[in-house]
Amino acid sequence: MTTNPSKTTPVAPMNGAQALIQCLENFGVEYIFGLSGGAAIPIFDALVGSKIKLILVRHEQGATHMADGYARATGKPGVVLVTSGPGATNTVTGILTALMDSVPIIVLCGQTITPMLGKDAFQEADISGITMSIVKHSYLVKETNAIPRVIKEAWHICQTGRPGPVLLDLPKDITSAPFTGSTLDPEMDIPGYKVPPKPHKADLIKMANMFKGSKKPLLLIGHGAVIARASQAVKKLAEKLNAPVTNTLLGKGAFAETHPLSLGMLGMHGTAYANKALINCDLILSIGSRWDDRINGNNAEFCVNAKKLHIDVDFSEINKIVKPDAWMVGDAKEVVEELVKYVEPLDTKEWLIELAYYRQQFPLKYSNDKGLTAQYVIDCCYKVTQGKAIVTTDVGQHQMWAAQFYLTDHGNDWLSSGGAGTMGFGFPAAIGAQFGRPGELVVAIVGDGGFQMTMAELSTAFVHKLPVKVLIIDNKYLGMVRQWQELFFENRLCGVDLEGNPNFAKLAESYGIKAFHIHQVDHCYDLMKEAMNYPGTCVIHAEVIKGDNVFPMIPAGKSAHHMIIEPPTKKLEKPTGST
């Protein structure tokens, strides 16, 4: 008996797992990132001979970040397949990462057989319960014939509205039993699920009127603009208004950072001129940002003299942090495309001169006087790749330096764990991105701390001959925490010294992966060039000076007025913000 994948009815004899994989094939899924295990064997069995390619990882966290990187780089949902118990719980960090940054992933978890649910079966974990507060939605599937409906709903839910992770808990007896349904393309049954409507004219006019008379407007671009692919619309709006643009960490690329109106990233480690713009603007429009605490440390002092406008796909973001003077709920691209038609050009000449002065006065800067700096290494990478690489990062100092010095011109080209701040994200995310966009240059800029959390995926990169470039910024510290301890805790260092780091070059070579070692300013650019042009996977181990700090810096819980531009000479008080 052969099955015809293009036909959804009538359905050939198959079991639940085969129905599941058939549905995913019909959606156009190319890859599943996973690690096998007992309760998931029927699903892995259904992948034998499937068009979908299984990418076997070395740890389930890696699988979630790969699916996440694939999704961020392509806009298409990433799919993860793991077994029950520890296999499932190892995905928790990756699910949180995807939730916090609104990334569409589907996590398929094997589960013990239904008669054993709740009886402490071998490798049983209540994964739908454990993950309930970090998923957009989840299902404990208890009926084989429900599988096509459930996966169709999951596919729809994860990528519409505000995207997010959806988890399926799939008991082994349910995936093993015969599927006797009549169709693999049933009706969805989600009457409570609402996708925001198209923008209303009255709301557009109200928001457009807010711009009238503004002399110092500022556009704040967030991840929502990337997700909605609103780049063209945002560019049109900025250019029509003559308004400067700043972006959040995750908004990088939605408005080209090389555009003359771009001020780059704002916030805790944003550019001084972007933060000066935040302090002095008389109107701020957030497009797909959630006024996160990295940019709004103290709401009482946040843009007090400015009108605040908010466009977000998620109604619960309106009024959550900032009380806006006008707001619209909807897809960033749809709303901004319409809004452009209603706004009038503004006279911002003086405002742009003021900002140009700040840019000249307080540029991002570094010096290699004390030795090789991370900033220089990243700057070399930017210059060698001409800013054209897809860049992923971990979390910490290297992430902030990468955000500052690797300018991003296109949405979906900057993949970083923003909300969750997940160490170990960068390298597996780069693998996922490379699968999604073969032929493009993918660079994972990672810290020596974060890389060691997921470096087992070197096998995955090697096996699939992925030309991912892993740039390890090695300062032998968990640097961002060390920076805090130095600045706010009288330099009492605790739990930050990464003594015992491996020889990263030898480590890479042991996987059969080419390694480069950069430790001098003089040869940095040339070696970077050689590494970036290397045709296969490679690890670039950059040993940089140990005690460097990221500036500018706004202490957590403070407003942009308290920005520290130069290394401080006097003792700072302990920050009141969360982290």
Partner: protein
């Protein structure tokens, strides 16, 4: 009258396992305590109604309502005030039987809409239906008469007129 910082919301949900946990988590992660919770069937058998009362500041409550509305299994969640809705709650009070207790019940039966639901030689079970405030008030009085046990259903409410709950 309801105390001003108590909010009551009505939530229409699909009958899916886990929906109660998802809603409870929206409250719990913000450190919000649920004062009363009633789950009951609706005219449409595929949906259930939850009526939840909770104390807290209006800003957090607004976030809770928006986040409950975001749940895939929730059709609608909204807050109701007593000018546009009616609220009822039922309570059972078990007190030790005594002449004084019986006299007390007779005295208050009209005002508090109470009746003796079960009477044994030793104990009386009093049933009261009314607003939460009325139940609170009677509870304060009945406590003086050897109150042994108390069970309250939690508040239910319904929007008046054309408006749907």
């Amino acid at each position: 009258m309801t105390k001003p910082n108590i909010h009551t919301m009505s939530i229409l949900v699909t009958n899916k396992p886990g929906v109660l946990v998802r809603i409870a988590l929206v409250f719990a992660r913000r450190g919000y305590n649920i004062d009363s919770l009633v789950v009951s069937p609706t005219v449409n058998p595929t949906f259930s109604r939850m009526t939840i009362s909770a104390k807290g500041d209006p800003q957090t409550l607004e976030q809770i309502i928006k986040n409950v509305n975001k749940l895939v299994d929730v059709i609608h969640c909204g807050e109701h005030d007593l000018t546009h809705s009616i609220e009822k709650e039922l309570a059972l009070f078990k007190i030790k039987a005594s002449p004084a207790a019986k006299a007390f019940i007779n005295k208050h039966s009209h005002k508090f809409h109470i009746k003796i639901n079960d009477a044994s030689e030793s104990h009386l079970i009093i049933e009261q239906t009314g607003t939460t405030a009325e139940l609170d008030e009677f509870e304060g009085l009945v406590k003086k008469y050897d109150l042994v046990e108390m069970v309250r259903t939690g508040k239910v409410l319904m929007a008046k007129g054309r408006e749907s709950t």
